[in-house]
């Protein structure tokens, strides 16, 4: 613990700390560009040069380790001269285009130039010109002459995103940041490079020339997409969301955002945004006022209830809805006598319902993941489903965390995965059971009776050996596990395994309110139907909240059939979408930026937010719509003045923890056979098709991750079926079919076809798991 003195102030720092660390601890600002607390030290910008007593030359604060008794001067004449000379060098080739630069007003170079630059340049030679590049729809490299070569973007790729998509090519003045042979930058975290870039070299393409930064209001919000609940700063001008930036929260998103969180805002003002209540009368849509529309809804629901009984009413809600919306929808349905409500639209296996002791959750804090030394991930498209959790594990893996994976696909996680078991989807329970058995044998504990007959393979033994040596282990079930036909069995096995290991166990969770939906009781009550059952046995009326069933449901074909077969569909949505085809009433509700609300993330953190802009057109916050509807239907207890009042009725933040529990009781372990006849479907939900907002973000839809779904198969399977990669094929599930291109992925297990769900191209197909056939078109 060396002590040092900076600018006359003393401080003691940890061993190995740098002068920059010490200065930060003292609150002394040392100018810098290349230094970033989350990245490795490069010491290349030289802006942080300081005077160190007895040193023969100025030292970079970021790279100089503190030595006992060191005396540092950050503002002495000597230090200032060095800093100013570096600033002069940085500026000589920097274009003087601040007036048209998007970074203007939030530019580190501009800010520091005020303090360290001269009013006029001594450099009167020609300035360097660096050719622009195109690296995709998100990050603009249009003005690379602005680059100061700090390599933050390069280090971000190498260290945080896990893939070096940008590098510095060339020497000296010819050095420039380029992507590898002109490829696009496809990382799901690429937008962070924009934040990291201290100048206007990397800027946001969707935001480009949209506004000057000082015209923007900064408002806090919470991401409505994945279950992390990333904290956002939403920047607003003239009642329009112009840009989204991370709000630093070390316990959740740190200082990062996934591209989905960052660029989805484009979808908020999509062309098919619903801004006026609409009624379908005699097969034709017409705009209505709220009074008419709500009256029509109340009348419609009452009619169906009277004619067919309340049990013929059903409600489907997206898990991206707010806590208050989900709660009021459930309360409304119960108020009119129906227990048919569900928000778990992509779930297949509901056998755990009524067997739970609490809401399924992550089983630990998000930040705890960083401290685990052993991890088992079961059935997760980790990078695409939970980009920042993946990043957190990537950092932990570098520090020695052993990551093990049981999954049906072998996408590159861009981190060291010590053991992998890639098996067909139906074999996931068997593989997990093998690991349970192997661990039980290692621990010399009794093997659960139903696992007695299971043979343990090498893959399971290796995973067990890794897990068995951990002191702090986590077992996580991903989206594929949660959507699996035997999800409850997987959960039981994970619970069993965690018990043997003394490990934490939980679900990563699919969406912003995957935990909140349970607390809001947006699940079927006694005798009620779950999401799958409501579609399998079509209801006479549906209330849809924030959802496009043909894309959000596990079995889109069943959803479409049900919607078309029913008498009365009410769509509460921010978008028209496919509801135009089958709904009777469309009520324009506010997306998360236009309403107050709450998300409860995977770790059970209750995060409430306010609307950042006024609702577009005649759209209204859904909680208000549901409140009025409750009143119109004569249901008691719908007199809320604020969304906070609704939230407090559900749970206070400190009451959430007690309601979380992953344990199941009263379900027996029954491991299905690993081998089945016929091809099985593996379905991921592509990262930019996860919900209605992100599906409408123009920029995200241009990324390579948003490419048309293809039927991915192992080469041997392609051969067996007489298919070639690239050829159009007809894919069938039951009576549903779709035409897509075949593609080859030899990392897939034999016997399965990977075909994305949640995409319009596959909405005529059946469930996300189960039998599938492929034939030449």
């Amino acid at each position: 613990m060396p002590k040092l003195e900076i600018d006359g102030r003393q401080i003691e720092v940890r061993d190995g700390a740098t002068v920059m660390d010490a200065a930060n601890a003292l609150g002394i600002a040392i100018p810098h560009f290349c230094y970033h607390k989350k990245l490795s030290i490069a010491a290349n910008c030289r802006m942080c040069l300081v005077q160190v007593e007895k040193a023969p030359k100025p030292m970079p604060a970021c790279a100089t380790p503190v030595v006992e008794g060191m005396k540092v001067f950050t503002e002495s004449e000597y230090a200032r001269t060095a800093q100013k000379s570096v600033m002069e060098f940085l500026l000589i080739n920097h274009p003087l285009d601040c007036p048209i630069c998007d970074q203007g007003g939030e530019c580190q170079l501009q800010d520091l130039a005020v303090g360290y630059g001269k009013s006029a340049s001594r450099y009167r030679e020609e300035k360097r010109v660096v050719f622009h590049k195109n690296i995709g729809p998100l990050v603009s490299m249009e003005e690379m002459s602005r680059c100061i070569h700090c390599t933050r973007c390069v280090r971000f790729g190498q260290e945080i995103a896990g893939v070096m998509e940008l590098g510095m090519m060339g020497r000296g003045e010819h050095a420039e940041i380029v992507s590898f042979v002109g490829r696009s930058v496809d990382s799901e975290l690429s937008g962070n490079m924009i934040d990291l870039c201290p100048v206007g070299a990397l800027t946001s393409k969707p935001f480009r020339y949209g506004a000057r930064t000082w015209e923007l209001a900064r408002r806090k919000s919470v991401s409505p997409h994945d279950s992390l609940g990333s904290n956002l700063i939403v920047q607003v001008m003239a009642n329009k969301v112009m840009r989204v930036l991370p709000l630093e929260n070390e316990e959740l998103n740190e200082c990062w955002l996934s591209d989905r969180d960052r660029f989805s805002y484009q979808g908020l003002n999509a062309a098919d945004r619903l801004t006026q209540p609409m009624l379908k009368i005699d097969g034709k849509w017409r705009e209505a006022n709220w009074q008419e529309a709500l009256a029509a809804v109340a009348k419609g629901l009452k009619n169906v209830r009277t004619q067919h009984g309340p049990e013929t009413l059903g409600a489907l809600a997206a898990p991206h809805s707010t806590l208050e919306e989900l709660y009021l929808l459930g309360k409304l349905m119960r108020g009119i006598g129906s227990q048919n409500i569900d928000f778990r639209l992509r779930q297949m296996d509901f056998s755990a319902d009524a067997k739970r002791t609490g809401a399924p959750w992550l089983g630990m804090k998000v930040a705890d993941i960083s401290r685990l030394d052993r991890v088992l991930v079961v059935g997760s498209f980790l990078r695409m489903d939970h980009p920042l959790v993946a990043s957190r594990m990537r950092q932990a893996a570098k520090r020695g965390q052993q990551v093990n994976l049981i999954h049906a696909t072998d996408d590159d996680l861009l981190m060291t995965v010590v053991n992998k078991a890639i098996v067909p989807p139906q074999a996931l329970p068997d593989m997990l059971a093998q690991v349970v058995k192997a661990v039980a044998e290692l621990k010399q504990k009794p093997v659960p009776a139903p696992l007695a007959g299971i043979g343990v393979g090498d893959a399971a033994k290796n995973i067990a050996a890794s897990l068995n040596t951990g002191a702090n282990t986590g077992v996580f079930l991903g989206n594929l596990a949660g959507q699996h036909p035997q999800a409850a069995q997987l959960q039981l096995l994970a619970q069993e395994l965690a018990g043997l290991l003394g490990a934490g166990v939980g679900f990563f969770g699919e969406a912003a309110n995957s935990v909140g939906g349970y607390l809001a009781q947006a699940v079927p009550g006694a005798g009620g139907l779950n999401a799958a059952a409501m579609l399998a046995a079509p209801r006479k009326a549906y209330v849809l909240l924030n959802t496009e069933p043909e894309l959000d449901c596990n079995d889109p074909r069943a959803a479409i059939k049900a919607m078309h077969a029913t008498e009365f569909v009410i769509s509460l949505s921010a978008y028209k979408g496919y509801a135009l085809e089958y709904a009777n009433v469309m009520l324009p509700i506010a997306p998360f930026t236009e309403t107050s609300g709450t998300f409860i993330n995977a770790e059970g953190r209750m995060q409430s937010f306010n609307g950042v802009v006024r609702p577009l057109g005649d759209a209204r916050p859904a909680w208000k719509v549901l409140r009025v509807l409750g009143n119109l239907l004569g249901i008691k207890g719908f007199d809320y003045d604020s969304s906070e009042q609704v939230r407090d009725e559900i749970a206070r933040p400190d009451e959430v923890a007690a309601k979380l529990d992953n344990r199941l009781s009263g379900i027996a372990l029954q491991i299905p056979p690993a081998a089945v006849a016929g091809l099985q479907r593996v379905a991921d939900v592509p990262i930019y098709f996860s919900d209605a907002i992100v599906r409408r973000s123009a920029a995200l839809q241009q990324t390579s991750a948003a490419a048309l779904p293809r039927a991915w198969m192992h080469a041997a399977l392609l051969d067996k079926l007489g298919l070639k990669a690239g050829q159009a094929v007809k894919v069938r599930q039951g009576d549903g079919e779709a035409v897509v291109n075949a593609a080859r992925d030899d990392r897939l297990p034999l016997g399965c076809v990977r075909l994305a769900a949640g995409h319009p191209a596959t909405r005529d197909l059946g469930p996300m798991a189960g039998d599938i056939s492929v034939e030449p078109q």
């Binding site: 030359k57 060098f89 050095a175």
Partner: protein, 442 residues
């Protein structure tokens, strides 16, 4: 017979073809290694002998070799590396090439002793990317040494093992910087690392590593054979032994000369046949292009050792002596030098990346008759702002010539600015003829 001068000890008895193992052994080669292994001399004792010899790094910095070896952690469990820097890119320097093409086994033996002393198990010789024949020859020498049991496992039947590889470089000047070289060996872009940590604690692949220049290693067998004291006695206190000087420029017999440290420059000039055409000596760069230039009359009074040259205002560097006669335009000479550093800056850190181009452009303008009155102060100031503020010494190397040329030959630069043409006007000289519109003479 190759003649490196009467004092030569390293390059003695070479004729250009007697580089093979049998020739080297006939000259007493590998005796030093055998002596160490036979007498079981402790590594510490080897280091002590090298320290005693006053052997200073021959690559340019002149750091005491024995001291550098002693920085290697002794009780280190993992791999340790020994690296030889034959990335001889310094303009004016061509001595290491001679060592590996005429006496490669002396280097191999020197590295073996270095490995023994520092506990390194694997070594690399990073050979300049622009010399291919020498690289191939060195590979053949390695094969010979392997076959004879001097390299590999259990050398000469002892417990000592050392594997040595030749590594053909990629041609960038900056790869001659020791940490840039390490990056390059690792297969990365040759960019220097910031220090600390130094290679002795975090070197090649993050392991403790000693890096020395070719000539430094080559001197080690002689030191072991004859004792550190004898080596030291060849030179002067703190400046032990002989040194190979690469003499180039306006002399009658440019080439490599091995002389004792402390030999007067005038003597070396005489060995090189004196000034070409009997012209007057104008200036000398005594230690490779990075060393500050010294006016001829001062240089003629200076002895060639690290301390004397430093006292004269320059540095001995790699021992590349560039001699310029009165026909040389110093503006044009500096233009060429500053262009070199502008081209060779790795671009990693700001002062060097930006400053080298700035300096070159200003000198280029002055040379081409577009100089401004404020340019000379500007040049010195820009050079000051680069020196000492960069990650590696390339920044200092780029600043040194600019500062010294302007300091010692300011009137020539001023003349260029004032008259838009050259002060020097000797037929056949290295200068600009008259005004730039008339075109170039040379």
């Amino acid at each position: 017979m190759l003649d490196y001068g009467p004092d030569a000890i390293l390059m003695k008895g070479l004729d250009g073809s007697n580089w093979r193992l049998k020739d080297y052994e006939a000259r007493g080669g590998y005796d030093a290694l055998k002596k160490i292994l036979r007498e079981n001399i402790a590594p510490e004792a080897v280091i002590a002998e090298v320290k005693k010899s006053g052997l200073r790094g021959r690559g340019g910095a002149g750091f005491p070799a024995g001291l550098k070896w002693s920085f290697m952690p002794k009780q280190y469990a993992g791999a340790k590396y020994l690296v030889c820097n034959t990335d001889e890119g310094e303009p004016g320097t061509f001595k290491d090439r001679d060592i590996i093409r005429y006496n490669p086994h002396m280097l191999i033996e020197g590295m073996l002793i270095g490995a023994y002393a520092t506990g390194a198990g694997v070594g690399y010789n990073y050979i300049h990317g622009e010399i291919w024949a020498e690289y191939e020859l060195f590979e053949r020498a390695l094969d010979e040494a392997h076959a004879a049991g001097y390299l590999g496992k259990n050398i000469l039947g002892t417990d000592f093992s050392f594997e040595l590889h030749a590594f053909h470089g990629y041609g960038a000047y900056v790869c001659g910087e020791e940490t840039g070289l390490l990056e390059s060996v690792e297969g990365k872009k040759g960019q220097p690392r910031f220090k600390p940590p130094f290679p002795a604690s975090y070197g090649l692949y993050g392991k403790p590593t000693t890096i020395n220049n070719t000539e430094t290693f080559a001197a080690v067998p002689w030191i072991i054979n004859h004792g550190g004291d004898a080596f030291l006695a060849l030179g002067r206190p703190n400046n032990g032994g002989t040194k190979i000087f690469s003499v180039s420029g306006h002399v009658n017999r440019p080439g490599n000369y091995e002389v004792r440290l402390g030999t007067p420059f005038a003597k070396l000039l005489e060995m090189a046949g004196g000034m070409r055409g009997g012209k007057r000596i104008k200036a000398v760069i005594p230690g490779g292009s990075s060393a500050p230039v010294i006016p001829g009359e001062i240089m003629m009074q200076t002895d060639l050792d690290f301390d004397c040259v430093a006292k004269a205002g320059s540095m001995l560097g790699s021992g590349a002596v560039i001699v310029m006669d009165e026909t040389t335009c110093m503006v044009r000479a500096l233009e060429r030098l500053s262009y070199f550093y502008f081209e060779e800056s790795c671009g990693q850190c700001t002062p060097c990346r930006e400053g080298t181009g700035w300096m070159y452009r200003v000198v280029h303008r002055i040379e081409h008759g577009k100089g401004r009155q404020e340019d000379l102060d500007l040049l010195s100031n820009v050079a000051d702002n680069i020196a000492g503020r960069t990650i590696c010494a390339l920044g200092d190397a780029a600043a040194g010539p600019v500062k010294s040329f302007v300091k010692h030959f300011r009137e020539e630069f001023q003349y260029h600015i004032d008259h838009k043409r050259c002060m020097v006007n000797v037929p056949g000289g290295y200068f600009t003829v008259s005004n730039p519109s008339a075109g170039r003479a040379a």
